[in-house]
């Protein structure tokens, strides 16, 4: 996901930069304003429709990837592993530090004091999923670990002096 986001961002930003460079390089010669306006406004209309269609397509296609399913169902499916998570300044308290691979895990995440951010990282330090840990609320994060191994839990919401040290681990074992 990060690669896709990065590539799309880079390409689109480069298109914008290239457009600006093109216009700046063509800013010296003086031309009548009205024909320029007409030309650019027709580009504007085209751009509007390209963006509108693009946004609708992305919006619809991204709907499936939303991480809110566990939050809004009354019961977890049979076989779901459930782990209660509570954040404190500056440690994580998990009801279990071990889960099985390839079976859904639902993390019931809350906080015992300030706001924290519960984030799961793999062994190569890639962020896999996250939710906020907020006092008085339970955020339910569902994730399926594909590979056995040791995964890191990092805090992603600033919570005071040792925020960056608020690290824990989850052991994912084979089925």
């Amino acid at each position: 996901m990060q690669e896709i986001a990065w590539t799309i961002t880079l390409v689109l930003m480069l298109v914008i930069i290239a457009t600006f460079v093109f216009v700046v390089l063509n800013s010296g010669q003086v031309a009548e304003y009205e024909p320029v306006k007409k030309r650019f406004y027709s580009v504007r209309t085209g751009l509007f429709w390209v963006l509108a269609v693009g946004f609708v397509v992305v919006m619809l296609s991204s709907y499936q990837g939303m991480p809110y399913a566990a939050q809004h169902r009354s019961e977890n499916p049979i076989g779901t592993q459930v782990i209660d998570v509570e954040g404190f300044q500056w440690y994580w308290k998990l009801s279990s530090n071990e889960v099985k691979a390839n079976q859904p895990v639902v993390f019931n995440v809350t906080s015992g004091d300030a706001n924290h951010g519960f984030a799961i990282y793999d062994e190569s330090l890639t962020l896999l999923a996250q939710t906020q840990a907020m006092p008085g609320y339970i955020n339910k994060l569902e994730y399926v670990f594909k590979e056995p191994g040791t995964y890191k839990i990092l805090c992603l919401e600033y919570c005071g002096m040792a925020h960056h040290s608020m690290v824990s681990a989850i052991e994912v074992v084979a089925e």
């Binding site: 930069i17 003086v30 650019f40 946004f55 809004h72 300044q89």
Partner: protein, 486 residues
């Protein structure tokens, strides 16, 4: 080439002139100081400084709130300068805002650097009351009261703006150009400065009111812990206030682009129906998009989060389709006069347009799930602010400095390129670090992340050098600024 650019204000009193220049002089100094703070955070993450987490988080808090406050101040000066050409505004209120601002700044600086307060600019409940011995309740209260006073000053300013606009145009709808947009009125639409200022006062009065509510609630909780707040409600209010205020700063500063760029291209940039529509839509979207800051708060109503994504996407339209294209239309084959002012203003358009892309990407819920609170986030807003907003503000300062025949040297041109290259590299490293999942707001980084920090630090240094020249030039030329009356 710049000698033909005239700086005209037909009715700027000596008091207003002095106050506006004081706004901008303070802004130039604070921009620089806050940039040094920002760069020092990257140096610390690069393992070059060794300041430790306590100073890091204090500086992080000061950098965040300092930048938000000072761009608000500088942008309000831009708005006031251009709006007061069309509408009578109160100079005493302009002075009062500055006084409130300075008192607030003293309280905030005291909270942070004497009281040790370091709950980030966001002061998310209940962190201000949980300093764990690093800061106490009085320090937190000093921060909250300081922010409240700054809010009071700005509220007075925007209420006065509303008074002045309504006195001339009758109501806010007319000032937004609605008769031309909805009723086909053949009367000339209000100037862009009036339309933009009207949008800003609407959103900022709402935003500041929400901020004031949450500040007072947090203050009560500090000294009466039994009076508990709803953390999710507080977070909603804080992000509504924060999002609106920082966006309103851009919408005020862009008035400089609308007003100054036509002078350089000899082409008019008059409000069209599309322009008016985009400002009306922006008024609504700036106030309703803030849930995109809460996409990882799963307890939020799902419709609000989806709305956050949709409006994030829609917010890109006015910037990309109207303002950026409008600026490019103005420039293309115009014979534009090139100097530091025009370069900075065009850079600002580029920065604002580019910032839309990573913002929209991060506003996509499934992406946010792996990007939220990584360095991607400061990446996207530094594109808006470092490459969009600040070039508008520095551009306005150079417009005044180069007023009516005054010239600057080659060092300013070099500074521009330092700023441009440094800024682009700096924000790209943020985005790249976000792609690598590096968290934001971490005082110490894992060894795998340090190389990214070091490259970013080099770029940050270039930005600071560029900004140092900009600030120096403005401060040393203050007395020579020449604003003609006709």
């Amino acid at each position: 080439m710049s000698s033909s650019i005239s700086v005209i204000h037909p009715n700027l009193s000596a008091g207003a002139r002095k106050t506006l220049l004081t706004y901008l002089a303070i802004s130039a100094v604070v921009f620089l100081l806050m940039m040094v703070f920002g760069a020092s955070m990257r140096y610390e993450q690069s393992e070059w400084l060794g300041m430790g987490p306590q100073y890091f988080y204090q500086i992080m808090t000061a950098h965040g709130i300092g930048m938000i406050g000072i761009v608000g101040l500088a942008a309000s000066a831009v708005m006031w300068f251009f709006l007061s050409r069309h509408v009578q505004l109160s100079t005493p209120i302009l002075v009062a805002n500055l006084v409130f601002f300075l008192i607030g700044v003293v309280l905030i600086l005291g909270a942070i650097f004497i009281g040790g307060f370091a709950a980030a600019w966001t002061f998310l409940y209940p962190l201000p009351a949980m300093g764990k011995g690093v800061w106490g309740n009085h320090a937190a209260a000093s921060y909250l009261v300081g922010l409240l006073l700054i809010g009071v000053g700005f509220l007075l300013l925007y209420l006065d703006t509303a008074r002045g606009i309504m006195k001339k145009y009758g109501n806010l709808g007319k000032a937004l150009g609605w008769p031309q947009l909805f009723f086909n009125s053949q009367d000339e639409a209000p100037p862009s400065a009036v339309i933009a200022s009207t949008m800003v006062l609407i959103v900022n009065i709402a935003g500041i009111a929400a901020g004031a509510v949450v500040l007072v609630l947090s203050l009560v909780n500090l000294y009466m812990p039994s009076y508990e707040l709803d953390p999710l409600l507080v977070k909603n209010l804080i992000y509504f206030f924060g999002h609106v205020f920082i966006n309103a700063a851009i919408y005020q500063a862009v008035i400089a682009v609308y007003e100054i760029l036509p002078l350089y291209t000899n082409r008019p940039w008059k409000p069209t129906k599309v322009f008016i529509l985009s400002w009306t839509l922006s008024t609504l979207m700036v106030m309703s998009v803030y849930p995109h800051h809460l996409l990882m708060d799963f307890a939020m109503p799902k419709w609000a989060l989806i709305m956050g994504q949709i409006i994030s996407y829609m917010s890109g339209f006015p910037v990309l389709v109207v303002t950026a294209i409008g600026a490019l239309t103005l420039i293309y084959r115009s014979g534009i006069k090139w100097d530091v002012t025009s370069r900075l203003l065009i850079l600002s358009m580029l920065g604002w347009a580019c910032g839309v892309i990573p913002a929209i990407v991060d506003g996509t819920i499934s992406v946010n799930n792996v990007m939220h609170n990584t360095l991607w986030v400061p990446g996207h807003f530094h594109i808006y602010l470092l490459l969009g907003l600040l070039p508008m503000l520095f551009g306005f300062m150079y417009y005044l400095v180069q007023s009516n025949g005054n010239k600057v040297g080659a060092v300013d041109d070099v500074a521009f390129w330092f700023y441009l290259v440094g800024g682009m590299g700096f924000v790209t490293m943020f985005l790249l670090s976000g792609k690598e999942s590096i968290p934001r707001r971490w005082a110490a980084h894992l060894s795998e992340w340090v190389p990214y920090d070091r490259i970013a630090s080099v770029f940050a240094t270039l930005v600071v050098i560029g900004a140092l020249v900009f600030a120096y030039r403005f401060l040393t030329r203050l007395s020579r600024i020449n604003i003609a009356t006709s």
